[in-house]
Symmetry: C2
Subunit: 321 residues, 2 copies
């Protein structure tokens, strides 16, 4: 049944002697949607073992450690992604706790899960896959190891809904202007780091490659200087996602270089957009959710400029593969 993260994890811990492993498993945008949860636990947990897999790799090269001491969190909006449905089924077969994050509580994915967290069923800004999976991760840490900033996190989770509309209004002119100026480009790079890297990835592969057929790649700000920076030029467009928190220094260094040798740069700065209104102990973990909300608005501008509506595909939904 669909329920809230707190009681789900309480229930899992009643039914399992112990939980030592947490696996996040999904494809594409949903794989990225699990990133803030994975990032949070890898950063904050002392003893938990964390894995993050694209579903079909998890199905074919299942980690040997998967078993009854594991939680497997899957995500798919429709709940029909075949590889993810199978991954949740594998979790159940070995006695792991299978938790699905999905829009549809009656979907095939939900049927392969012991617990379901729904998202996208309301208009609240925090009712999305990234946020719900992160909340699950926070519950896991708090209930298993304890989390000093649990109350701050929960308060920020609510407060987040207030800051998004304000930020959208603030970012709108930048987004629209950049889309109008560079919307016809054939290649756009996307850069970010740390808590923002999941949305860096999903923006490149889903919003640009998949939905707009624009060539793209996600570049990690810390990796930029170890390869990709050599393709920087005044003709090469970049979307730079400036995070707040511990890895902002990485983003800043990359942005400084971009400003020296690039020209077609759009900056989305989460500090400037007001993310720091959240408690400083937890604001960092909301970077991706916030960035995604703001970039989605930019994406709609792109659709308009390019006269290429969101659901346009050449292969998906049209043929078998």
């Amino acid at each position: 049944m669909a329920c809230c993260p707190k009681s789900i994890i309480e229930d899992v811990l009643k039914k399992h002697d112990k939980i030592t492993h947490v696996y996040f498993v999904a494809c594409g945008g949903s794989y990225a949607g699990l990133y803030p949860a994975k990032y949070f636990l890898q950063s904050e947990a002392k003893d938990l073992i964390i894995g993050h897999y694209s579903s079909n790799e998890f199905c074919h090269a299942t980690p040997k450690a998967l078993g009854k001491d594991s939680i497997v969190i899957t995500q798919s909006f429709s709940g029909t992604t075949p590889e993810t449905v199978r991954a949740a089924g594998i979790a159940q077969e070995v006695g792991a706790a299978s938790i699905a994050v999905t829009f549809d509580a009656e979907s095939p994915l939900a049927k392969n899960a012991d617990h379901v967290v729904t998202y996208g069923t309301t208009k609240e800004a925090n009712d999305n896959g990234h946020a719900k999976a992160l909340w699950l991760a926070v519950e896991i840490l708090n209930q298993i190891e304890g989390y000093a900033h649990y109350d701050a996190f929960m308060a920020s989770y609510e407060k987040y809904n207030e800051i998004v509309p304000v930020a959208k209004e603030k970012f709108a002119p930048t987004a629209k202007a950049w889309a109008e100026k560079y919307g016809e480009e054939k290649l756009i790079y996307v850069m970010g780091s740390g808590p923002n890297y999941g949305v860096t990835y999903s923006y490149a592969i889903c919003l640009l490659q998949e939905m707009q057929w624009i060539h793209s790649s996600a570049i990690h700000s810390g990796e930029y200087f170890h390869g990709p920076f050599e393709i920087t030029d005044k003709d090469v467009p970049f979307i730079m996602m400036m995070s707040t928190g511990r890895t902002r220094a990485l983003d800043q260094r990359a942005l400084d270089f971009l400003h020296r040798f690039g020209e077609k740069i759009m900056v989305l700065d989460n500090e400037e957009m007001g993310l720091n209104a959240l408690d400083s102990n937890v604001a960092e973990f909301f970077n991706q959710i916030f960035t995604a909300a703001l970039l989605d608005m930019f994406y709609m501008d792109l659709c308009e400029v390019r006269k290429h509506p969101r659901p346009t595909r050449r292969y998906m939904w049209k043929l078998k593969y």
Copy 2:
């Protein structure tokens, strides 16, 4: 001092009550060089906690769990990458075992390490960063949890040297022909999965973006159908890395699609090139090392066709950043 993986891990386990966490930390090509080791442990270990970080992210957002029960394995050919040198230093400061994989046993990185594994000092095919880090990972698993295929791995590690020259001769005509035909392309995608994903990444960011200024992105074969496949077209070049082992099915599915809608495709098939001469229980873990050796040859063809020698840079070594 520079030494061999087996005795290094024996020594670490003498000096530390227990080892629960293993972190792999490096930048760019070396970050990718640690991938087979990380993939092996994440797949095979039952209780070890594994992390894989770009160095500056590790330095700025250091995981809370890092401490005296941790091993930190860093890698840098020159041993001078500042972020990686600092990461090894952080490891030492908190009492973790700091192991450096580097060409230069006297480098700054080596000075921040308790143990050093050198590579690139001989002409042997297995004397490279990917292979040495993997060997360390195998020693860690075998000495801490036990590894059923340890002897098979060590035998394959030696046998690997015999299969590489044969494979190079076999792959040479394909590589040369493709470089001559498509060497002037401005964008080339690289695709692979599972044990091969590290080299997919490094080929895109180091060999293509950094050294040839060709736009590129690494695509995971399992993620291809969840975004990137929409940019497939007869004009878009792809290098497809076919692995042997459990995730080959993912690569095959992607390749089948590429053959339907793409034309400029180079396939490097590790099974066809003879990787299966290694023991079937461990061959999979050699995919990346093998792929990298063969693609390096292709890269030299590319340098020739493009009249763009390997050490050509526009920013690196030329300015401060």
